[in-house]
């Protein structure tokens, strides 16, 4: 027999989670943080700290200094050049393709097809991509052969070599362009059609619209994504390795060789190599995030 007082007062203490919900949540996310610590933060931290240490463990800046020796400096420089070339090229070409697909007034099925294909292509990197380009533009590649056969034009006679700076940049474009399209398409969506119309009715030409409205609105996205592409290319190794073995002197391959066989005969210098890479990609990504925040603020 229950009375009102029973209901009001006599609730049995529940074993429900509400009482310790907070601590349960902390417990729930603990594995994640442990994982991040063990496999992200500690390894990276170890390398960063090691870069500032000598073989005995004392603090030193000597490793950083050794990064500027000619062979290493040139490795960094080539990496930067290749990454910049493929980033700028990928951004420019990707921009026009994204524009064509999103705003260009094409049939409606073009855009989803484009996005799907870009999703696939942006992941088709590494060794298979290297093999593909070898079969295309390598010395025995099909395009090379066709150009010789039908146009009497041997691209290798102009000094072009797939296994070189330009060859690598062109190969990198294969995943850089789709990445640009994928990231830029939503940003282009943010360019409201009414802005174009409003600018037109206020007397502006197409060019003036781009100069005064569209590009100012888009430039954080454009620049930011270019930086993202830069960092993306900078950290890549498999494609280059598949293309040139270890003969092209980019920094990731240098580091690979160092890890494999301590070719520098100086462990801490290896750490410094890694540190240098992290600084460059870190800066690039930080700039990307900052720029993305700016563009989101306007396009609210």
């Amino acid at each position: 027999m229950m009375s009102a007082t029973d209901l009001a007062v006599g609730q049995p203490p529940s074993r429900r989670t509400r009482l310790d919900g907070r601590s349960l949540a902390w417990l729930g996310v603990a594995p994640f943080f442990l994982f991040a610590l063990l496999f992200l933060i500690l390894p990276t931290g170890f390398l960063v700290v090691g870069g500032f240490q000598d073989a005995q463990g004392h603090f030193t800046l000597a490793n950083i200094g050794k990064l500027f020796q000619p062979s290493i400096r040139s490795a960094y420089w080539i990496s930067i050049e290749v990454s910049a070339a493929s980033a700028v090229g990928g951004a420019a070409i990707g921009f026009f393709i994204a524009y064509a697909g999103v705003i260009g007034g094409l049939p409606r099925w073009i855009r989803p097809t484009l996005i799907t294909f870009c999703g696939v292509a942006s992941n088709f990197a590494g060794l298979p991509l290297a093999f593909a380009f070898l079969a295309t533009l390598g010395r025995t590649g099909l395009v090379t052969a066709l150009l010789i056969r039908y146009f009497d034009f041997n691209i290798y006679s102009t000094g072009f070599n797939l296994l070189s700076f330009w060859g690598l940049a062109i190969t990198y474009l294969y995943f850089q362009i789709p990445l640009m399209v994928l990231i830029l398409a939503p940003a282009l969506d943010g360019l409201k059609r009414e802005w174009r119309e409003a600018s037109a009715i206020l007397g502006a030409s197409g060019l003036q619209y781009w100069r005064y409205v569209a590009l100012p609105v888009l430039w954080p996205s454009l620049l930011g994504t270019t930086l993202l592409l830069f960092a993306n290319a900078f950290g890549a190794i498999a494609t280059a390795y598949g293309l040139t073995g270890s003969s092209l002197n980019i920094i990731t391959i240098e580091l690979y060789a160092q890890i494999r066989g301590d070719v520098l005969h100086d462990q801490n210098l290896g750490y410094a190599l890694a540190l240098g890479m992290i600084v460059i990609t870190g800066f690039s990504n930080a700039a990307y995030i900052w720029l993305r925040g700016r563009s989101e603020r306007w396009l609210r």
């Binding site: 996310v29 994640f32 496999f39 992200l40 992941n123 598949g242 990504n285």
Partner: protein, 259 residues
């Protein structure tokens, strides 16, 4: 508005050419194994190569393990962050961005240094432990994509209300996670899984430096030593990637549908 469509078509055409030509060339090259005629010899050799089968199987197994660990790690985390620990969200998002900033080669370098045989956690001491390390490395690589997929999926369902409804009906948190949350983010998880699969199958750097018999190092070996098989492998890899990404896109386009 009236646009000149020619420019757009031109851009799309150029893009299509640039992307199709290498694929076609690779395919053509892969058919050239038998002198004088086209054949699928290269494919036959590759597919019947025990090394191919072994490494592909190995990488597939590792991919599945990665997906499992990834899901177990990411889903509860995303859930608790959304439900109770909102303030930690920026921290978690920063962490999930780190693998995009720190190149894989740097990460595996770190692993080799910290987890070698003389450390507290000697991952590289045995084959099995190294496999584990490689799996964790892959989870790290896939983390940004997996987290973003699940987080987006969770955001599209009202996690808080669903949890409170389940609690008011008497469920405890394991039940809630398993029976209420997981089924609703199944699509997001699956799409993250396919992306993870694509990443793991083709991965080279970590597998090579940790000296594991994965598909990536096998590809590199083939590329260094053979002429026609690499092209066949490239086509196979492309098809696998295409299948994974295609399935992911297909799945990813159905949230909120069928309710």
């Amino acid at each position: 508005m009236r646009h000149s469509r020619i420019g757009s078509w031109l851009a799309i055409a150029i893009g299509t050419i640039y992307f199709l030509v290498p694929l076609l060339c690779t395919f053509e090259f892969s058919l050239r194994m038998r002198r004088g005629e086209y054949s699928f010899d290269a494919y036959r050799i590759v597919l019947s190569d025990p090394q191919f089968q072994a490494t592909f199987l190995y990488s597939t197994a590792l991919a599945l393990a990665t997906i499992l660990v990834g899901v177990l790690l990411v889903v509860p985390t995303a859930y608790w962050i959304q439900l109770r620990l909102r303030r930690l969200r920026p921290v978690v998002e920063f962490i999930t961005l780190l693998p995009l900033v720190i190149p894989a080669i740097v990460l595996v370098f770190g692993y080799l240094r910290i987890y070698n045989s003389s450390s507290l956690l000697p991952f590289t001491a045995s084959e099995a432990a190294t496999n584990l390390l490689l799996t964790f490395g892959y989870v790290t690589l896939a983390l940004p994509y997996m987290y973003r997929a699940v987080d987006t999926g969770l955001r599209s369902i009202d996690v808080r209300t669903l949890t409170e409804a389940a609690e008011s009906l008497g469920a405890h948190w394991p039940t809630i996670l398993l029976k209420v949350i997981l089924p609703n983010v199944r699509v997001a998880v699956l799409s993250g899984a396919f992306l993870t699969f694509a990443i793991v199958i083709g991965e080279f750097t970590m597998a090579s430096l940790l000296d594991r018999p994965a598909f990536g190092p096998y590809l590199q070996l083939m590329g260094a030593n053979r002429a026609y098989e690499p092209s066949a492998l490239a086509i196979i890899a492309f098809l696998v990637t295409w299948a994974s990404m295609g399935l992911m896109q297909l799945l990813g386009r159905r949230p909120g549908d069928g309710r």
